[in-house]
Amino acid sequence: MHRFANPNRFLKLANAILPWAAGATVILLLAGLYFSLVASPEDYQQGATVRIMYVHVPAAWMALFVYTAMAVASAVALIWKHPVSDLFAKAASPVGAAFTFIALATGAFWGKPMWGTWWVWDARLTSMLILFFLYLGHMALMNAFDDPQRGFRAAAVLALVGVVNVPIIKFSVDWWNTLHQPASVVRMDGPAIDPAMMTPLLLMAFAFKAYFVTVVLLRMRGEIAEAKVRAISMSQVHG
């Protein structure tokens, strides 16, 4: 890990991975969409609206995964002061925010026909909305200071404080009674989803993962370039 604390070494690795991540994203998305919309059955209970699950659930999974990764990177940045960790956190949070928004919006479009409402303030939905605000706060803090280091530090603290929300989201449907149903995939008794439906779900989940890798690496490349621009400009000012 310490090897890649050096931004330039990291850049070499990132550039090597990028074409593969981008290619995987395209292939997995195409396959995922085909299975989601065409080659999978309707649900015995929810009919065609089950197809929304293939976007909603992978997006929600990514929302939690990205925040957790951000929290880990923040801890690493605070403890070991790895500059690449800070850059990862900065690059990841818009992506996490996008996935959270998608989860909330598609959830609303799924809830209206099936539950009968666009939104309820139950523990699952409320904690996911809080997650969205945490992402926005993180992005705001990153950009709030003239000195980028202060932004990194403040955002890292917010990421770590907010990570307590992640297990709350996951277990909200077990700890409290909610309108949102309990977990269908990651549960003690094994998945409660028919294999014909697991296929599109997993394909879309991997597609979103590959998309995340692609976009985060591109964003980190951009951040590294930005930082160099800033450094050169500053050294020119100071002579």
Binding site: D43, Y44, M114, W115, W176, N177, Q181, S184, A192, M197
Partner: protein, 159 residues
Amino acid sequence: MTRKKRRLYFVGAGMLALFAGAALVLTAFQDNLVFFYSPSDLQAKQVSADQRFRLGGMVEEGTVEKQGDTVRFKVTDYAASTPVTFTGILPDLFREGQGVVAEGKIGSDGVFVASEVLAKHDENYMPPEVADALARQDPAWKEKLGRSVEGVEPAKATN
């Protein structure tokens, strides 16, 4: 110790304190975070007639009656049941044996007057053919699957 070690312990201790604090806060607020009461909860707690709350459970089999725009049914958690009356649009999934969450007030006659009725579905997903096959084996398979009502065992069909 080194500055790095000190930072490590600081972050670690901070996280522990944070999680402990959150656990405490959430346990303390358990009651306020209740999204709905079950019919058994209603019997245990005396809820006053003008208090707005949500009632959740299953739509009891054989209790749905439609009279024009008004529908009457019973919500059960298999230990107790509460009669409900509602005028308005029901969600597509509303049917007997389905999970339901109704928002409204309880009248002095013990009938819950709902202003909104939401359907609650379980976490099981399968194609219609699979569901039909399960139903042929055991017509009450759906009640036995999963937990649609928190902490309550669904009724066994053979009684």
